[in-house]
């Protein structure tokens, strides 16, 4: 127990220390050779069972550690712990590419398809055609209501009521909210899933994932050239980049049950398109910026809300004004591409955040497909799309044409009306209203025989199972604190300009004590979230050295991540891991003697 208490959760740091002492990393193999040998001896069998011979190369060892981490995330019983574990390795956040549905660049759709492993199809799923009878029943009533909404909003609302710079956005928002209100009140008596749904105005929709198969940049290749454990042929291997989507749809309709799958397993629409050329995959070549930010997967509400499945996602088109301004005469030709990119990215982010809300993660493969529907409109021009998220595992493997991927169905733009005057709406296109009714009337339901939350443990939820009030409160506060992405009260350590010149580039101060972080090889970007620097205890008060995290002068001295790990039976209490560490500790003690 003392040995286990002396062990930190940072197995990678321990391995680094042991590597320095010349310990072979094979000691951290998942199966221990000594155990199996003793098993054979006890059974007395003549045929020996040897453990698998593991590849001890750096790459293979890192892959095993990565798989172990993925399994750890899968095994955590609550959404909050899974989301915090995604961010555990980075105290100051991941250096992630920031994507937004409103920053649409030229020829952006092909990059978005690569980044989300999505096949975009310009068609409409057949499942919607089964709703034609119900659609025709509600169409006349909805048509009159929509006319009233547009007359009021576009003709009868006073012009002074608009701030000019935000006019289009406010008009679009008001029309979207009014049409959604009308649809929900019209259909709630007939459709149970609409009666039970909730509509969020401008919710927070964020999604975070790792995008593999991105070429290493020049700086990474340069650093790899100094790493002796990386063979020369692997120095140009592609890398995984964190990607963060931050969006705010105009409106989001959520329900308790998911939408049905729009395409079956094995359908050719669910195959990945041809991947991008290697040179075009780096997000920075697409004017996407990078930023240090915690990875967040938020479907508009916290996990305690029972309605985690998104039904309809409403977006506006004001970004096309910036797109037109930026790209001038080429913008018109690129507009369908821009809309495809927006629909694909928003649909993927909505589905991924829903998946995280029900216990999956960007590193956990889905057990059933998730679907969402998107409407992009400014009131006059409408674009409908549907997205089906089949797999998250494809994001972690190299892009391959024909491999399983996700699907996005996008329809061409449609005009709802030609003109709105005080006399009425001219040229109202009923086809648009039919598509809209189809989206709302598509019923949700359980997936037969499939558990919707297979990786969440209802008996060990954060709210119910954690009895310690301090731990439960503090963990939840920590979760909100990290997910809010607020700035830290203390700035990150930086190398001052004069230090860069006089200490790093030119060693002009050899007699000065090496106390700065870069002189001690402690880089802030590599600091973990559960790094705990306990308070200073004066020498006079120290008694029988025990790590500070277990010797709490007050409850504020406790570290929330260590306490939760102890409660959950974290990896530092894994028996095999502890046994291996015990062997290493004893080896170290002998060597020190």
């Amino acid at each position: 127990m003392a040995a286990s208490m002396a062990v930190t959760c940072r197995s990678s740091a321990l391995r680094l220390n042991l590597l320095k002492k010349g310990i072979n990393s094979r000691c951290f193999a998942t199966t221990s050779s000594s155990n199996n040998v003793s098993d054979v001896k006890q059974a007395g069998e003549t045929e020996a069972e040897y453990p698998p011979v593991l590849d001890t190369s750096f790459k293979a060892t890192k892959d095993r550690e990565t798989q172990q981490w993925h399994k750890l995330i899968q095994s955590l019983p609550t959404v909050q712990e899974k989301q915090l574990e995604l961010n555990m390795s980075r105290y100051y956040g991941h250096w992630a590419c920031q994507l937004s549905p409103h920053d649409v660049h030229y020829n952006h759709a092909e990059f978005i398809q690569f980044a989300t492993r999505t096949n975009v199809v310009e068609a409409w799923p057949n499942v919607y055609s089964t709703l034609d009878d119900e659609v025709n029943k509600f169409l006349p009533v909805l048509k009159k209501k929509v006319e009233d909404i547009f007359l009021l909003e576009l003709c009868h609302r006073p012009k002074v009521d608009r701030v000019e710079s935000r006019q289009q956005k406010e008009t679009s928002d008001n029309i979207i909210w009014a049409i959604n209100h009308a649809l929900v009140s019209l259909l709630s008596d007939q459709a149970d899933h609409i009666a039970d749904s909730q509509s969020d105005l401008s919710p927070r929709l964020e999604a975070f994932w790792w995008l593999s198969d991105v070429p290493a940049d020049s700086r990474q290749r340069h650093v790899r050239s100094f790493r002796r454990h990386i063979p020369e042929e692997e120095r140009n291997d592609p890398v995984s980049r964190p990607v963060q989507f931050v969006g705010q749809p105009a409106l989001l309709v959520r329900g308790r049950l998911p939408l049905p799958a729009l395409a079956g397993q094995g359908d050719p629409v669910g195959h990945q398109p041809p991947p991008l050329e290697m040179d075009s995959r780096e997000p920075r070549t697409r004017q996407c910026a990078y930023k240090f930010r915690h990875g967040t997967n938020i479907p508009g509400v916290w996990p305690e809300d029972g309605r985690q499945f998104g039904l309809v996602n409403w977006l506006t088109r004001e970004h096309l004004v910036r797109h037109a301004t930026k790209y001038g005469q080429h913008a018109a030709a690129d507009r369908p591409d821009a809309l495809r990119a927006q629909a694909c990215l928003s649909g993927f982010a909505s589905c991924l955040s829903q998946a995280c809300g029900v216990g999956f993660s960007p590193l956990t493969e889905l057990t059933y497909p998730l679907t969402t529907q998107t409407v992009i409109t400014d009131g006059r021009t409408w674009t409908f799309s549907a997205f089906q998220l089949n797999t998250t595992g494809a994001l972690l493997t190299p892009a391959e044409h024909g491999a399983p991927g996700n699907t996005c169905w996008v329809l061409p733009e449609m005009q709802l009306y030609q003109n709105v005057t005080e006399k009425g709406v001219e040229g109202l296109n009923e086809e648009v209203l039919k598509r809209l009714l189809q989206l709302y009337l598509l019923p949700t339901g359980d997936r037969d025989g499939i558990e919707l939350r297979p990786y969440l443990d209802p008996e060990r939820s954060l709210v119910d199972a954690v009895e310690d009030d301090w731990l439960r409160t503090k963990y939840l506060q920590t979760y909100f604190h990290i997910m809010s992405c607020r700035p830290r009260s203390r700035l990150k350590d930086e190398v001052y300009m004069w230090e860069k010149i006089y200490k790093v580039q030119f060693q002009t101060r050899p007699m000065e004590a090496r106390k700065r972080f870069f002189e001690l090889n402690k880089y802030p970007d590599m600091r973990r979230l559960d790094d705990f620097y306990p308070g200073y205890i004066p020498r006079a008060l120290r008694q029988n050295f025990v790590p500070a995290r277990f010797k709490a002068a007050s409850k504020h001295e406790k570290n929330v991540f260590h306490e939760m790990g102890r409660l959950r039976g974290h990896r530092n209490t894994d028996p095999k891991f502890l046994q291996e560490l015990q062997e290493l500790e004893s080896w170290r003690d002998e060597k020190d003697k």
């Binding site: 009233d148 009021l152 709630s188 909730q198 954690v466 409160t473």
Partner: protein, 426 residues
């Protein structure tokens, strides 16, 4: 980072030098000093001429002004919103004397306690399927489960004066109030189809409401406020008070605030937009304001109470009713408006029947409108929708949910939909 002498020498020394090189070009403008001295009878001599010195004026360096500062520097007479006549402006802030002052300003008297019978009779008449569960879900989502995390306005903790005040992140009150009201109204609208009122109601989000008044002695009053939501209808609400009761109001007196003017605490400004703005124009089919939903920041608890919610309701309802009355072609029936005011927890319902557009003078107060018709107000004390809705000890908690509040909101919504409450427009 720590500002050490070494850091200063390596980083800031050059910066200081550059700043001084720029600053030395700044000249002090002495025009106002010269004007002030000459106004006091002092003779000002030019120093260069007095001493016979050759002096070259440097070009004054133009300092960058903040955005909008240039507009403020424009002479008042040339600003588009400037008026010679000052006006008292109410924009939804606190009234010093609360609801009494609002009634005095709008020439309104309160009729008894509670809402009119035509509204109270509708309470409990209709129910939505799973009503309580849906309403509690709306409350929880708006106040607890909304994942928006923004820096909240500072609330000074007087027990920590002098110490750093804790920074709080959460759902802004503007957002949570809008989400709560929108969710509750959306639930109310589910009755519209059942009661054959689907085509007769429309909702507006944050419409501008502005009403102008000129008193008998020429003072101007401008009421301008944006409600969070406005429920518009295609027919007006029936007047709760019959004609005899309206005539009898001549004998009643609006609240008397003497010796205080009813316009106390209202800013008298010269820069304002003097205009009547109704939520929609007169040609719209849904031009009648049915119910206003007003939200107020409940975070600053000491400013928001039942009295102030009542004041806000009266002023906003009066502005909406005045606009409706002015949109009518000729003298028509009294304009009736309903209102729900909330701070996120307390809900206060009110009904106003506008019988006159006259407002009292700021100097003579109620005396100037004596023996005139009065506007009639029905209101009830603010009722909490819940006692507490927050994460407590790491668990989401909604305590003290009051189901009656939503039943009363439904009654307000149904007013004008059911056959017996539909007014005879002929």
């Amino acid at each position: 980072m720590r500002f050490t002498p070494v850091l200063h020498k390596h980083l800031l020394g050059r910066w200081y030098n550059d700043m001084w090189k720029q600053k030395k070009r700044v000249t002090v403008d002495n025009r106002k000093l010269k004007q002030a001295l000459e106004a006091n009878g002092k003779t000002v001599y030019d120093a260069a001429k007095l001493f016979g010195v050759q002096w070259e004026d440097r070009e004054p360096r133009v300092m960058e002004t903040a955005v909008g500062a240039e507009a403020a520097l424009v002479e008042p007479a040339r600003r588009p919103e400037h008026h010679q006549t000052a006006a008292f402006v109410y924009q939804g802030k606190n009234l010093l004397l609360g609801q009494r002052q609002a009634q005095a300003l709008t020439n309104t008297i309160q009729v008894g306690e509670g809402l009119p019978e035509q509204v109270t009779a509708l309470e409990g008449l209709e129910r939505i399927r799973n009503q309580d569960e849906l309403v509690t879900d709306v409350i929880k989502t708006s106040l607890m489960f909304d994942a928006t995390q923004e820096k909240l306005s500072k609330v000074i903790d007087v027990t920590r004066l002098g110490l750093p005040q804790p920074v709080q992140y959460g759902v802004p009150e503007l957002r949570s109030n809008r989400s709560l009201l929108s969710g509750l109204l959306s639930l109310c609208e589910r009755l519209a189809v059942r009661l054959d009122g689907f085509q007769s109601r429309l909702t507006l989000y944050r419409p501008l409401l502005s009403a102008t008044h000129v008193t008998s002695d020429g003072h101007r009053l401008l009421v301008s406020r944006r409600p969070e939501l406005a429920l518009m209808a295609d027919r007006p609400l029936p007047a709760p008070a019959p004609a005899q009761a309206v005539e009898a109001s001549r004998a009643a007196a609006a609240p008397q605030l003497e010796p205080v003017s009813p316009f106390v605490h209202l800013h008298s400004v010269h820069d304002y937009q003097w205009r009547d703005v109704a939520p929609v124009s007169a040609g719209c089919r849904h031009r009648y304001v049915h119910t206003l939903f007003l939200a107020w920041n409940g975070r600053i608890k000491k400013w928001v109470d039942d009295d102030q919610l009542g004041a806000l309701s009266v002023m906003s309802m009066h502005a909406a009713a005045v606009n409706m009355a002015r949109q009518q072609a000729g003298p028509g029936r009294p304009a009736v408006v309903q209102c729900v005011a909330t701070d996120g927890r307390l809900f206060k319902r009110s009904v106003l029947q506008l019988n006159t557009q006259a407002v009292p003078d700021p100097t003579s107060g109620e005396v100037s409108t004596r023996h005139q018709l009065k506007n009639l107000l029905w209101t009830e004390p603010a009722t909490p929708l819940y006692e507490r809705c927050a994460y407590t000890d790491g668990r989401p908690l909604l305590a003290g949910y009051n189901a009656e509040v939503f039943n009363r909101l439904l009654a307000l919504y149904m007013n004008g939909l059911l056959a017996r409450t539909v007014p005879d427009l002929n």
